[in-house]
């Protein structure tokens, strides 16, 4: 186990008050902690969960209010607490939604003006959430999971609903109370295979009812589902100016090369169509403009879609631009593997973002284990030969957030890129850039200084090795020939 004191930031989001760009707060999760970093002042950082003694005090205060013990909020998660995978800020910047990996939980925080977080609810999903989106009115969270299902949950659980899902022991206790008679689901008259018949005989011997999974104890609605791993989810509203009406859509992508276009709630059961053309998994979808969809995944191209009519408008080859950067792979510790260039370089797109800043309007692209941030003018998306430019980074990008006109990148400094020659210098885990109208890019010194200071102050200890699959899980989506099944 390699314990590392500069655990990378797995995900970012940024609060930019409207008309007041001078109050930006960056939210960055590192391991189980979420940091709120004031981007205008040095050394103005808050952390969730707070240190233990503070948490205890908060608990005490809660007790004074005479809250029943069953509903007590846990402010400090126990050691070995789950790592945060995703952060999504509500559109009104008042709430932050965090997804954690090991316990499959969705936590909702209220965000103070200074950026401090107060946990309001904690809801554990049946499968690990893989994509999160909030509706424009901030009322509902859409959550897609590893099993391909998309649920809608109210952002704030209705009053009367417990704010935390019960612990596993509570669930077992409630199950013991159930004493329903077990009825086997098949009869002897059913046509059976030998194995099935044996299973049926065994079922008849069991006195106790078979434990079934508890249904979710909070309000939720299953909207749609893929029989595949869901990888990304986007909500979009198109307004028809002639009709004066608005149409809501849900766009979902999966590991089996599909991008699905469904109607929004309350007609999410209606599939409008599919954008088909990828040959490998789709890992990310992005709408740089409401009517244009860009998708990327295991293919060496990005697809540009007229998604309303399900037409493929362009395929942008990214193989050349990405190939200029050697893969930046973490040594396994089991003795370095022989360095050999694979015959065919595999690309796994790990992120797509729109950078909607005036003439520099760009699409930002990252690929797994490639130490660069790629950018492409949005105006060029439909041109036959668009140019993918790159910003070399001194580590692998893990997440990107567009904060006004600057781009903040989270960099995994535990895997150093050898090509930059900056190893002697301390590399900040958070770096920022600006893309200019002539498509060149710059570092923003002022902001980088603040980020550099924040990076120095934040020491999160963690086992980076165990996080590898979570931080670098995209290439694993690729199918490996499958099992033999003749």
């Amino acid at each position: 186990m390699t314990v590392y004191d500069r655990f990378p930031f797995s995900c970012l989001d940024c609060s930019i008050p409207e008309g007041n760009e001078n109050h930006r707060i960056l939210f960055a999760a590192s391991g189980p902690k979420i940091f709120s970093i004031n981007l205008e002042k040095k050394s103005n950082i808050q952390v969730w969960p707070q240190a233990d003694n503070q948490a205890k005090r908060a608990d005490q205060e809660n007790d004074d209010h005479g809250e029943p013990p069953g509903k007590k909020r846990k402010l400090s998660p126990p050691p070995g607490s789950p790592n945060i995978l995703k952060l999504t800020l509500s559109h009104n910047r008042k709430h932050l939604v965090a997804v954690s990996s090991e316990d499959k939980c969705i936590r909702v925080f209220s965000v103070s003006e200074q950026g401090s977080l107060d946990q309001l609810s904690q809801r554990c999903m049946p499968k690990r959430p893989s994509a999160i989106a909030l509706t424009w009115d901030d009322d509902t969270i859409f959550c897609g999971d590893k099993f391909g299902d998309v649920y809608a949950l109210p952002l704030l659980p209705p009053s009367g609903e417990p704010i935390g899902t019960p612990l596993p022991d509570d669930m077992e206790a409630s199950q013991e109370e159930q004493k329903e008679l077990f009825i086997p689901s098949a009869t002897n008259l059913t046509v059976h295979t030998a194995r099935n018949r044996r299973a049926l005989e065994n079922q008849a011997k069991i006195k106790k009812p078979v434990k079934t999974k508890e249904p979710l104890k909070f309000s939720h609605q299953l909207l749609l589902g893929h029989v595949s791993m869901l990888t990304d989810l986007t909500l979009v509203t198109l307004s028809d100016e002639n009709m004066g009406s608005k149409r809501n859509y849900i766009l979902t992508a999966d590991r089996d090369e599909h991008i699905r276009v469904s109607r929004g709630v309350p007609q999410a059961h209606i599939i409008e169509g599919f954008c088909l053309g990828h040959k490998e998994f789709v890992s990310r979808i992005c709408l740089p403009r409401p009517e244009i969809l860009v998708s990327g995944g295991g293919d060496d191209f990005l697809a540009v879609w007229d998604w309303v009519n399900r037409g493929l408008k362009n395929k942008i080859n990214i193989h050349g631009a990405v190939g200029e950067f050697p893969k930046n792979v973490r040594p396994t510790g089991k003795g370095d593997p022989p360095v050999r260039e694979p015959e065919e370089r595999k690309i796994a797109v790990s992120g797509l973002w729109a950078y909607p800043q005036g003439p520099g309007e760009s699409l930002l692209v990252t690929c797994e284990e490639v130490p660069a941030l790629f950018h492409l003018a949005i105006a060029d998306l439909e041109s036959p030969d668009p140019v993918l430019r790159s910003i070399p980074l001194n580590g692998n990008p893990l997440d990107v957030v567009v904060a006004g006109n600057s781009v903040i990148v989270s960099i995994d400094t535990s895997v150093k890129s050898s090509c930059t020659g900056e190893e002697m210098e301390r590399i900040s885990r958070l770096q920022s850039f600006v893309i200019k109208s002539d498509k060149s890019w710059n570092r923003i010194d002022e902001l980088n200084e603040i980020l550099y200071e924040a990076d120095k102050e934040i020491n999160t200890v963690g086992d980076v090795g165990s996080m590898h699959d979570i931080l670098y899980g995209i290439e694993n989506l690729r199918k490996r020939g499958g099992e033999s099944d003749t």
């Binding site: 009869t187 008259l189 059913t190 749609l224 029989v227 059961h269 088909l276 099992e483 099944d485």
Partner: protein, 278 residues
Amino acid sequence: MPGQPNKRQKRDDYRTSLSQSEHRIQLPKKKFYRQRAHANPFSDHVLTYPESPDTMDWSPYYPSFTITNENESHEDTEISNIPHLSKRVEIADIGCGYGGLLFALAPRFPDQLLLGLEIRTSVTEFVQEKIKAMRQQNSETGLYQNVACLRANTMKFLPNFFYKAQLSKIFLCFPDPHFKARKHKARIVSSTLNSEYAYVMKPAGVIYTITDVEDLHNWMVEHFEAHPSFERISKTEEDVDVCVKIMKSETEEGKKVERNGGHKFVACFRRFEDPPWP
């Protein structure tokens, strides 16, 4: 395992001799194509499927319905090179097994294309061999030219084969019951999968289901009735539908249940027209 290589050898020999024989008049023997009754719909089988319905070449499956394009288009795209059929598949048997239903339906619907979809390789091969033999046996009447079978995992790839509103009938006959609650998502009917069936179906198209497991029957009824795109067809309407009659008597499993003295539970559902946008 003793005996195992011998069995495989016999199968291989049988299939090579079958493919070499010029006149495949004889029907294939089922005993050389047996395969365990279950397949995991979630695993990445080595599957071939088209990127999209546009790229599907149906001509090897329905040769007598293929249009030979005289005036070739000069566009040299992948899609324009794919031969077209004079009509589209409209009847699909999902999980067709050994194809009993397909062979009974094909002569009844000579003007429509029927497709069986089966996830098990050997079973698919059996149906494909049987189709070849049946076509040759009936070369004078031209029967069975309208039926084909291919290997597919429809739970994942239905929209790769069919366009929106393409199918008028879908059969789900004696599907794997997946008794364990944990396995219920593997069932061929679920509230989320029903949206995909609705997508490939024409308005007023019908989904036919039959099973001998009452529990599964109730599950299918519950999930289709709860889905806003479907309504259950009344018993009287069911009774006069020729497809229901064939489905009850001609499927392989249906015959097995008959011999066993078991029950058969039938339910059919009609697809509504999509409501206007809210």
